[in-house]
Amino acid sequence: MSPKILVADDEPNIVISLEYLLKREGYTVVIARDGQEALEAITRELPDLVLLDVMMPKKTGFEVCQEVRANDALQDIKILMLTAKGRDTDVAKGTALGADGYMTKPFATRELVQKVAEMLGKAA
């Protein structure tokens, strides 16, 4: 079975590209449109990796990340955070709260695909 990826972002304009891209790469893609939805999707679908946007309604990416890491059943899920904030303090915070990777918008889709493959490869 192909690895399952959850794309959690409130902006449909990025979601459409990410969905197309990741499906093309052969992944199973699940979508969440806010933090709350993302958390529910994670516990329900148990994806292999989450592309987690930081600025989301209801719950921020930081909060989602922290709650995932607090749940023992979800420890294997990889989290790649995406953010429009370019500050190094955000990177430090994300990493401290348990994110496995961090990408700042805008990013090259090729790099994203590479990063995702890398993170899933390590897990395999």
Binding site: N13, I14, I16, S17, F62, G86, R87, K105, F107
Partner: protein
């Protein structure tokens, strides 16, 4: 008395001599008789017996002669020193020595001459001292003038305070600055904020100043050269002030600086600069972070479009994304350049501080407030932070307080370490697990400490530092902590902050002693009248019956500090009474309906007057009348005038109980006070102030020296029984 004493001593001497001569006579006769035959003895007795009276007479005569001689000698040698004593006493009391013109023995006359010379010497010494004092005070005056000239040249506002926060000196620039800070700029013109003897805490938070003083102390103890601190604060009127504080230190005999006796504040109103910077920040933020998402969307879509196997409907969707995002970026840039909306917090000016000092200050603050022990962990003495230490310690204190109150955390640890180009400051505790949501929600709450509250949140504080803050748990050790990522000071900034000043000498113009520390701990009632500050005021009203609708139409007030009338720091304001001014009263106060038109109502004027009179004793002539008007407004303004009040009418009756009139004019006439502008509120207030200054020494002479005594004495007079 002394005359009688001398006589008695003289009499005693004469009696002794008389007795001695009688004894001598009897002895001589006895001896002669013992050498004679019995018949010769009988013959002699026969011969002498009839002549005994003669012998007695010569004895008496001899005694009188001796007595007279003794008396003469006594007069000459015993009473002359007595006279000299009296004359010397006169000389002692005299302001200027006069020759004594002493008639006595040669010895006492010589003595008198020497005493006179001593007195003359004393006089010339006195004269020297007076001259020297005059010279010294002249040079002090010159120094003061020089300082005043210097200060008035400064474009920065300068305020000097003693340790109690009382203003000792300020320049005209400061006066202007405070005017813009005043909530009632047109009424008191800032005079209710800045003034000699006024408390700086009317403008600045006491804690803020204490905190800045504390960090200065720390720097001094560390040997820093020019220990100063700065802070930025918002005032009641919404202005942003950047304040630099430098200590004023006492100098001991050897010229070394010792403990702090006061501080100098240099104020900069940075409101406008900050608004501009705020705007720039917003633009920058909008252009960078705001555009990142759109750019990401476009980039991803464009890269998808590059795939050759893309079908037509999908291609159309990606093109739509690109169009939409390009459009929205254009709109964003347009709105951004056209209008600045709310957004980022302004960048706060931060101060270089040794991390260890921040931790120490936080430790003290938490221990004092939450009563929980705080330990410091691996204190890295090399970490320099760039922080707003007041708000940062406040944030840490707030978090600790909530942990202690809501989760019963027993003790805390503070840890500081550098991590890359940032520092991590952790507030660590052990105890029951808590949900991240709960504790992280605290960062959005306004910080409250009992009755004290600030509109700031922990998040605001974090943003001021351009930092981050989060909650982490270490399950294995049952520990949890809040981690603050904070900016560190650059090497250059560290160097400047640690620079040791070699030359510790003070500039010349500090050379006068204005820093007598007053004892604030005593109750106002027991403090000396001479050391209190007074607000002498008067009101003009539409009539004499406040309870029947009469209103204040003018308030005038003057300040007395250190027994000096501060004429330039006065308060005068016409008030719109909201009713007609009876024509009959206009000749008395000279205020017409036209004059009060457009003037502020009493509800606006009283708050300004209240601030002007803060921390002082109110003085008025027939104070009960004016106080009644003020008290009737309490309902509308919520301001309770519970200042201590002294009444010059009653106190005049205390000092001159036998005078018929205690009207202000009559008292002014008694004291020979020139009356100018009588029957304007300020004019009357000034006259009352002059009267009070003259009553003060007279009361002191009666033993009435404290506020309590003055009030009690006034209560006992006949006039105190009149009621309004």
């Amino acid at each position: 008395m002394s005359r009688l004493k001398i006589d008695r001593r003289l009499m005693l001497a004469i009696a002794v001599i008389g007795l001695a001569t009688v004894l001598w006579l009897l002895l001589t006769m006895g001896l002669i008789a013992s050498t004679l035959e019995p018949e010769q003895r009988a013959l002699l007795a026969d011969q002498l017996a009839p002549r005994f009276v003669l012998i007695g007479l010569t004895w008496v005569f001899g005694l009188v002669a001796i007595g007279a001689t003794l008396h003469w000698l006594f007069r000459r040698y015993a009473s002359a020193p007595g006279r000299l004593l009296e004359q010397t006493k006169v000389l002692l009391a005299a302001p200027q020595a006069a020759p004594m013109n002493h008639h006595g023995t040669t010895e006492t006359q010589a003595l008198a001459e020497v005493i006179f010379q001593l007195a003359t010497q004393r006089d010339s010494l006195r004269q020297d001292v007076v001259t020297q004092i005059a010279q010294a005070s002249m040079s002090v005056q010159q120094e003061k003038n020089r300082l005043a000239a210097l200060m008035s040249e400064l474009t920065q506002s300068v305020v000097v305070c003693n340790l109690d926060g009382r203003i000792i000196l300020y320049n005209s620039r400061a006066r202007l600055q405070f005017k813009t800070l005043s909530v009632a700029p047109t009424l008191a013109g800032g005079a209710e904020l800045v003034g000699i003897g006024r408390s700086i805490y009317a403008v600045f938070d006491r804690q803020l100043v204490a905190h800045a003083l504390e960090s200065i102390q720390q720097r001094i103890s560390r040997g820093a050269g020019s220990p100063s601190a700065q802070f930025v604060t918002t005032t009641q009127a919404g202005q942003l002030l950047k304040v630099q504080m430098a200590p004023v230190r006492n100098v001991d005999a050897s010229g070394g600086a010792t403990e702090i006796s006061g501080f100098v504040l240099m104020l900069d109103n940075v409101t406008r600069a900050f608004e501009e910077e705020h705007l720039r920040d917003q633009l920058l933020h909008g252009l960078t972070e705001g555009s990142r998402s759109s750019l990401a969307n476009i980039q991803a879509a464009v890269e998808m479009l590059a795939y050759p196997d893309l079908d037509a409907p999908m291609r159309e969707r990606f093109l739509a994304v690109v169009r939409e995002e390009v459009n929205s970026m254009g709109t964003r840039i347009n709105t951004m350049t056209q209008q600045a909306t709310q957004g980022l917090k302004a960048r706060w000016p931060l101060e270089e501080m040794l991390g260890a000092d921040v931790l120490l200050a936080t430790q003290r603050r938490i221990e004092a407030r939450s009563q929980r022990p705080v330990t410091l962990e691996n204190l890295d003495a090399s970490v320099w932070l760039k922080v707003d230490s007041f708000s940062l310690t406040q944030a840490l204190d707030y978090l600790a307080l909530r942990l202690a109150e809501e989760f019963d955390v027993k003790f805390f640890r503070l840890r500081l370490q550098s991590h890359g180009n940032r520092a991590q400051l952790d507030l660590i505790w052990t105890g029951q697990a808590m949900s991240t949501e709960t504790v992280m929600s605290w960062e959005m709450d306004s910080m409250r400490f009992g009755n004290e509250s600030t509109p700031l949140t922990v998040r605001d504080v974090v943003e001021r530092h351009g930092g981050e803050m989060w909650f982490e748990r270490e399950r294995v050790r049952h520990e949890a902590f809040f981690r603050f990522l904070l900016p560190m000071a650059s090497m250059q900034e560290q160097l400047e902050a640690t620079q040791i000043l070699q030359n510790d000498s003070r500039p010349e113009y500090y050379d006068f002693d204005l820093f007598q520390v007053t004892d604030q701990s005593r109750e106002l009632d027991d403090r000396l009248l001479s050391e209190l500050s007074f607000t002498v005021f008067d009101t003009e009203t539409t009539g004499l019956n406040p309870s029947e609708g009469d209103e204040i139409i003018q308030i005038g007030a003057a300040r007395i500090v250190n027994s000096k009338l501060l004429r330039q720091e006065s308060f005068e304001q016409l008030v719109n009474p909201g009713r007609l001014i009876p024509a009959a009263t206009i000749p008395i106060h000279g205020i017409t309906q036209d004059m009060v038109k457009g003037k502020p109502p009493i509800t606006e004027v009283l708050p300004a007057f209240y601030a002007f009179a803060q921390d002082t004793v109110l003085v008025a002539h027939n104070a009960a009348f004016d106080m009644k008007f003020l008290q009737l407004q309490e309902r509308h303004t919520g301001l309770v005038f519970n200042h201590p009040v002294l009444d010059t009418l009653l106190l005049s009756a205390v000092v001159h109980p036998n005078q018929e009139s205690h009207r202000l004019e009559a008292i002014a006439e008694r004291f020979n006070i020139t009356v100018l502008g009588r029957h304007t509120a300020l004019g009357d207030a000034m006259v009352t102030a002059e009267v009070w200054l003259r009553l003060l020494p007279l009361l002191q002479a009666m033993g009435i020296t404290t506020l309590r005594q003055a009030r009690e004495a006034a209560q006992k007079t006949y006039y105190a029984r009149l009621k309004y």
